[in-house]
């Protein structure tokens, strides 16, 4: 009997927590397709707000996708070889490098953005271009790619694979392309999903780095929260959810498959 009561109370508690997380998201989705949120859903369902957002903010959505893909490309090209090098070299230097590249995760984005502005604010063309935001995103997401790939190397004994290929006479870069990268694929995929998700949602850095001509989706979101009617802000958030949730589902799916092995 006592166990039943404890179970019921815990279930109730967990349901309340879930409601705290889910209700505002549901409200936002509902508000995004409601004719008049103040009057409620009875006022009718519409896609006019979504259309208005696409009209006003399509540029920010495209920009965010482009920056996320650009960030992904750089973290792949720079991060995957680095993860390999850090793993096979090991030792104190590798740990130090890993520690340094992970710092941007522990340091508030605001500090990082200030540093970038102070260092490169004077380089007008760079400052005004998308590359400035891209640089910030690369620094912020790099550790997730590097560590995700290093974790895979640790679990598949990449050193013996590498040595095996070397004993067959393969050159280092051939081994990297033909042996290392294919074997690291699950880690590269997990890291890529993480990088794209983080880049699409990044605000702390981007708000400081953006200019009126370089606005990303989260910057546009903050803009709409401050100045647009609730329905438009909600429709914009809805579009963001639609972009981000498949990535999240894919990440969880990969995580579960990984832990089921």
């Amino acid at each position: 009997m006592r166990d039943r009561i404890i179970f019921a109370l815990q279930l109730l508690f967990t349901l309340i927590v879930a409601a705290f997380l889910a209700v505002p998201a549901a409200l936002s989705i509902a508000a995004g397709v409601t004719v008049n949120y103040f009057r409620g859903i009875q006022s009718g369902v519409t896609l006019q707000w979504v259309a208005q957002v696409l009209d006003l903010y399509a540029g920010t959505i495209m920009a965010s996708i482009a920056i996320a893909l650009g960030t992904l490309l750089v973290t792949l090209v720079v991060g995957v070889p680095a993860a390999y090098a850090l793993y096979v070299r090991g030792g104190r230097l590798a740990r130090l490098v890993e520690e340094i590249i992970t710092l941007p995760v522990a340091i508030p984005g605001l500090a990082l953005a200030l540093g970038l502005l102070l260092s490169y604010g004077g380089f007008g063309n760079f400052r005004r271009s998308w590359l400035f935001i891209l640089a910030g995103h690369v620094i912020f997401t790099m550790p997730f790619m590097v560590r995700s790939v290093m974790a895979i190397f640790a679990s598949i004994d990449v050193k013996s694979l590498d040595e095996g290929a070397a004993s067959l006479g393969a050159a280092p870069w051939r081994r990297f392309v033909d042996v290392i990268v294919p074997n690291a694929a699950p880690g590269i995929l997990a890291g890529s999903l993480m990088v794209v998700t983080l880049s699409l949602g990044e605000f702390n850095l981007t708000w400081m780095l953006h200019t009126p001509l370089t606005k990303t989706l989260p910057v546009g979101l903050a803009d709409s929260y401050a100045s647009m009617r609730l329905e438009v802000a909600s429709a914009y958030t809805l579009i963001f959810f639609v972009m981000i949730i498949p990535l999240l589902v894919a990440m969880q799916w990969i995580g579960e498959r990984g832990s089921a092995k």
Binding site: P24, S28, Y84, L112, L118, F203, P218, A222, I244
Partner: protein, 271 residues
Amino acid sequence: MSHKSFVWICLLPLAAVTAAFFLLPMARLLVTGAEGPRGLAEYLAILVEPRYRATLVNTVLLAAATTVATLIIATIAGLFLQRHRFPGRAVLVAILTFPLAFPGVVIGFMIILLAGRQGLIGDVSARLTGDKLVFAYSIYGLFLGYLYFSIPRVILTIMAAAQKLDPGLAEAARSLGAGPFAVLRDVILPGLAPALVASGAIAFATAMGAFGTAFTLATNIDVLPMLIYTEFTLAGNLATSAALSVGLGVMTWLILALARSFTGNSVAAAG
């Protein structure tokens, strides 16, 4: 080409990118912090200047409250979900983890929908008591926002840690006559301690340094990230904002590093 030089070449792009866009900006930040009228003393202003110190205290209290509340809530819900199997459990776990990818700005908007001027809580309270309860645009709204941000992360960590606990230990304690609360206090919570420390540190560091949620809710909430932002953009006070953000960065980094040395695991904050 030898293997050794290939490894170095693999590291080169990372070294270049990190040096140019992280190490150099951080060095610049450090130098700028000391270039104000106060010189190096600017770095002490966060502790000495009453206005900054009050903000620092405020921020630390908010982060501590967030951490304690998140750990309690997530431990209850996480242990419950790990121990019981029932219909709808998977849906519940999915609901509790999907806000993981929400950036701070979006979480701010969630809090506005909940406790803002057109929010649900205001609506319900107006109908029940005639008084419209609106607190999204204050430090309480920010507290709720950080809970929203931290709960999914901490629940996931606790569920994973609880899964690794040896069920035999709790079983043995029970067979020796320990009640459920004694088992929780003496067996389960000590077993979860590393996970609690690690995820608590992330919650704390995030609540200290996150900017998006506070920015969405109100620009005049008195926390460090907002102070840094207003000093930089409104007051144009480069040295102060640089020194304050160095101080904030050192604090969040220290918290995470301490948690890591305690648990032996690497932890990372986000947002």
